[in-house]
Amino acid sequence: MRALLLMIPVALAGAAFAQEAGKSVWQGIYTVEQADRGAGVYAQRCGACHGAALNGTGEAPPLIGGEFVSHWDTMTVGDLYDRVRTTMPQNDPQSLSREDYADVLAFLLKTNGFPAGSQPLDKRSEVLATIGITAEKPAGM
């Protein structure tokens, strides 16, 4: 019974964002302004290891190109957001604000060719978890 009771709030939370479900990273989920802000944060906090052109240096992997995108294929933007938020910068995780992390993510999405839109990327992991990443643009989008 206990397991069943625990499931109810989760189900309700899911319902609250039902209209978001099935969203895709190909649908314009960040703004150009946000990505531009993110470029500044990236240069300050990420570029030393991942490279000015996101090509990666030494052990830090590239954050651009097919390998990066396919690495996250079928995951959600929330997965990527929380991976960055909880582990980066590698020597000082969780040291940026949630807004800054969202801005950096917008910059990564823009750099990797995902389209910008009119609404900025949310800063809540649970909302971002409803946006799917697909390496290939789905038909009709």
């Binding site: 030393a48 651009i64 097919g66 396919s70 294929d73 079928t74 020597n91």
Partner: protein, 692 residues
Amino acid sequence: MKIITTLPLSVAAALLLTTAAGAQTPAKEGTVAARTTNGVANWTTYNADLKGSRYSPLDQINAGNFGNLEIAWRFKTDILGSRPEYKLESTPLAVDGIIYTTGGTRRAVVALNGATGELLWQFALHEGKRSAESPRALSGRGLSYWTDGTKRRILYVTIGYRLVSLDADTGRPDPEFGENGVVDLKKDFDQDLGDLDTGEVGVHSAPAVSGNTIIIGAAFREGFTPKTHNNTKGYVRAFDVRTGKRMWTFHTVPKPGEFGYDSWLNKSADVNGNTGVWTQVSVDEELGLAYLAVESPTSDFFGGKRPGNNLFGNSLVAVDLKTGDRKWHFQLIHHEIWDLDNSSAPLLMDVTVDGKPRKVVGLPSKQGFFYVFDRATGVPVWPIKETKVPKGNVPGEWYSPTQPIPSKPPVYSRNGYLESDLIDFTPELKKKALELTSKYQLGPVYTPPIVSTPEKFGVINNWAQGGTNWPGGSFDPETGIAYVYACGTCISSTGLQPPPPGLSDIPLVVGVAGQPVTMIKGPGEGAGADSPAVAPAPGAGSGPPRLAVDGLPLMKPPYGTISAIDVNNGTIKWQIAHGETPDFVRNHPVIKAMGGIPRTGQATYQIGTLVTKTLVIAGENQFTTTPDHPRGAMLRAYDKQTGKEVGAVFMPSTQSGSPMTYMIGGKQYIIVPTSGGNSSGEFIAYALPGKK
């Protein structure tokens, strides 16, 4: 320093409590050889044995059933540190039903029930600043086991470079070893490291333990942008396994009067560092020799501060196990300036060459050569010819006019990049590749580095991460065939730039024309459990173009391979692409229009192989999503004789350390260390369904 031991449930008690318990059979002094007794088979050193084989004779898991493997248990390492680790490289040991391994950002030691994965005990040193300052953080490659038949010890080196001896049954430090179970490796080092917290040295590898002798190597910050050429020297030391007392030291950079000192012109041996042994040490217990695969001196791509051939840099050195005296050496690269440092454990193989039994040592390498020597004398089994190589024009550099090139076996991995290596799926792609590479230097093996300019950013190469890296090779002791993974397209561009004031005392470090030169961090550096924040880095403008063409890799497949090298006759028996074709290649419109291409393998250097009675086993290091499986990676098994894939099983994460195998209660298990992407470190144990 704070010692944390938890769950002091004795292993003996755990053995009694589990059905998996194997009888604790008497063992000879030293490490216990792999054996199958009462349904128990062990894996007692990092590489299965001190010869570096990564071989187990087990055959319950075979070609006929490999695809039926299922996950038996999983052990997540997140709790073994202040933050999760995404670079789990440790290979566990299995001793009489118990798994011992390092793990987590704290490099904790754990003992697990081998049948269930249940935690039996955990030990960790909390080393504070000393750990935070370490050039080699994170969980490391593993630990070592020793017994004299009564005492049973687990030995490992902490992030802060302390050698610890633990009671294998309880996880408690051995009070008779060092000071309360700990030897401070930064002391008694034949050199003064200054402040013990900040003195630069650490190591990822597992200690080599033979008889009463523990051999420990040394590793340093990465050498792209070192602060100084005069950093710590990577001496190799041996310690008594019972007391922790130092037995001998081998000066990898000779002191005045020692053999090899003259190979550093202008007495430059006095003022250069590194030259450590950061990979595993192998030991021939019958010959009484330890084999040291020595890395490069400081710095990786500029050697102007160390004119001369620089012994024992990039040498394979055989030393007496009891005294550390050098028996023989062979320098594989003179005056190394490519970051092609010795990466692999020496493979001590018994083969038959021209009808005669030979005891040989084989060494895989980043440069795709497989060097083979008589391991008693150091004489090459097949001629290794001094070959003229191009001289570079970097100001202040000293160049060796020749380099040793093996005549046999053939090169098993790309070690240079020419126009003929560029992508050529279509003429258009090839044309674009040629345009792109016009801004870079191409060339064969030992093409020297260049100063980066806006016209030529650097040399396109596989120096740092190509060929065979730290996982090394493996071999079948029954057939004399070595199985070696190599990355054929782990390319980057390397150019040199003067450092900004205060960054380094070396005139040229790695940099790109037009870009600020910044300190480049090494593996896990600044990422360990106690690492503090650092100041934000300065902003940077746009960099040089990516080494890709229309989103496809610049170089032709195969991207990663496993080669079977027959060391009886110096030939490559077979070579296969290892790893599913990456999604971004397989799904690329050009590839689809071609109707697909044969499996390409993957561009990664993290793959170690496991050899069993009939199989070569290795997982994938990249996630793929294919029509056959959801996002994940495959653990693959190949027929040893042919290289034909005979089975594959899904892994929810990617292989990041080398797999191992063992048996408990008559059941064979395979453990794969995994991490990567959004998956933090986890050991995943596979076994066949049902069978007890």
